[in-house]
Amino acid sequence: MGCAAPRSASALLLLLLLLRAEQPRGAELTFELPDNAKQCFHEEVEQGVKFSLDYQVITGGHYDVDCYVEDPQGNTIYRETKKQYDSFTHRAEVKGVYQFCFSNEFSTFSHKTVYFDFQVGDEPPILPDMGNRVTALTQMESACVTIHEALKTVIDSQTHYRLREAQDRARAEDINSRVSYWSIGETIALFVVSFSQVLLLKSFFTEKRPVSRAVHS
C-alpha cells in the first residue's frame, strides 16, 4: 500500500461525511394500533428539506384513523380526523425533530392496522461518489436513471394495489365469517322460537280450567 491508498481512503471518508449532512432516507412501516391508543413517530429533518407522509388504514373497524403532524416548535402543520388514506408533503422550515402521530382514541373496540411511508429528501445514489459527478451522464447512464425512476413508480403502484387488496380481502373474510355466525344463529333462533310458540299455545289451553269454562259458557 503506497501513499495513494491512505489518501483515497481519507477522500472516501470525507465524502461519506459530507453525504451524512444531507441524510436522505425513508421509512415504510405497517403497525398495529390498538383501540384507544396513539402511536407517535419522530424524525429529524434538516431545514429546507421536503418530506412526505403517505398513510393508509388496512384493517379494522371503519378503516379510519386520526393523524397529525407537528413541527419541532409544537405547531400542528397537518391534522385530519377519521381519514382512510391521505398523502401530505411539506418543506421543513425549521431544522429539528418532526413528529407524526396516529390516533385510534375515538374507537372503543376495533384495533387498526396502519401503513405509512415517510420519505425525507431525495433518494441517495447507490454509490457514495456517484453524487459528486463533474461530467454529464452518458446516454446509457441517463437511460438507466430513467428506467430506475419508472420502476420506482411501478413498485409504488404495486404497493398501493397490495394495500387495497389487503383491505378488500380483510373485508371479504369478515363478511364470510359474519355469514357463518349469522346462519348458525338464525337456525338456533328459528328452532327456539317455533318450539316456544307451540309450548306457549299449549299452555294457554292446558291449565286454568276456569278460562276454558268461561269460553264454553
Binding site: 491512505p6 481519507s10 449532512a21 428506467i147 397490495r162
Partner: protein, 235 residues
C-alpha cells in the same frame, strides 16, 4: 450527537502519522453524525409489532438503536449495555422464524420462505423496573425490504462492477422484485376469490336450507297443534 465508539490509538509508522490521525478523526466524525432513523418510544413491558407483507425468498434487514432517558441530564443517552431488545419474527402461519435477544443496538436479518404477512415484534428485556425510572425507551428503527436491503457498495466491490454495470444490476434487482410481487399478487387474488366464492356458496345454501326449515317447522307446528286440539276436543 454522541460519539458511540471508542478509539484505540495504534502507534503509526513514521511519515504516515498525520494520515492515520486524519483518517481516524474523519471516521470518528462520520460515526458521530450517523443517521438517526425514525424513532418511537416504547414502554418497559410494551411490545411493538410491525407487519411486513412480502413475497417469498425476500430478504428483510432491520437495524435498531436504543436510547434511555437520563433524568440528570434531561436528555436521551445511549442505553446501558445490559439493556437489550428481544426480537421475534413470525411467518404468515404464526411459526416463529427468528427469536433472538440483541443488545442495545442490533441488526436482524431474515429471508421469507412463505409469502404473506410476517410480523416483527420488539420488546425490551428489562426486568428491573427501576432502570426505566418511569420513562420511556427511545428506539430508532429502520427496516429495509427486498431490493432496498442490498448494499450496492459491497456488491460493486465483490463483483468488481463499473458504475454502469452497477446501475444495470440495480435495475435487474428491481425488476426481480416486481416479478416476485406480481406472483404473490396472483396467489393473493386466488385466496380472495376462494373466500368470495365460499361466501357466495354459504349464502346460497343457507337461503335454501332456511326456506326448507321454515316450511318443515310450519308443517310440524300445524300438525302438532291440530292433534293437540283434537285431543282436547276443541276441534
Amino acid at each position: 450527537m454522541a460519539v458511540e465508539l471508542g478509539v484505540r490509538v495504534v502507534r503509526p509508522r513514521p511519515g504516515t502519522e498525520l494520515g492515520v490521525v486524519m483518517r481516524t478523526l474523519l471516521l470518528l466524525l462520520w460515526l458521530a453524525t450517523r443517521g438517526s432513523a425514525l424513532y418511537f418510544h416504547i414502554g418497559e413491558t410494551e411490545k411493538k409489532c410491525f407487519i411486513e407483507e412480502i413475497p417469498d425468498e425476500t430478504m428483510v434487514i432491520g437495524n435498531y438503536r436504543t436510547q434511555l432517558y437520563d433524568k440528570q441530564r434531561e436528555e436521551y443517552q445511549p442505553a446501558t449495555p445490559g439493556l437489550g431488545m428481544f426480537v421475534e419474527v413470525k411467518d404468515p402461519e404464526d411459526k416463529v422464524i427468528l427469536a433472538r435477544q440483541y443488545g442495545s443496538e442490533g441488526r436482524f436479518t431474515f429471508t421469507s420462505h412463505t409469502p404473506g404477512e410476517h410480523q416483527i415484534c420488539l420488546h425490551s428485556n428489562s426486568t428491573k423496573f427501576s432502570l426505566f425510572a418511569g420513562g420511556m425507551l427511545r428506539v430508532h428503527l429502520d427496516i429495509q425490504v427486498g431490493e432496498h436491503a442490498n448494499d450496492y457498495a459491497e456488491i460493486a466491490a465483490k463483483d468488481k462492477l463499473s458504475e454502469l454495470q452497477l446501475r444495470v444490476r440495480q435495475l435487474v434487482e428491481q425488476v426481480e422484485q416486481i416479478q416476485k410481487e406480481q406472483n404473490y399478487q396472483r396467489w393473493r387474488e386466488e385466496r380472495f376469490r376462494q373466500t368470495s366464492e365460499s361466501t357466495n356458496q354459504r349464502v346460497l345454501w343457507w337461503s335454501i336450507l332456511q326456506t326448507l326449515i321454515l316450511v318443515a317447522i310450519g308443517v310440524w307446528q300445524m300438525r302438532h297443534l291440530k292433534s293437540f286440539f283434537e285431543a282436547k276436543k276443541l276441534v
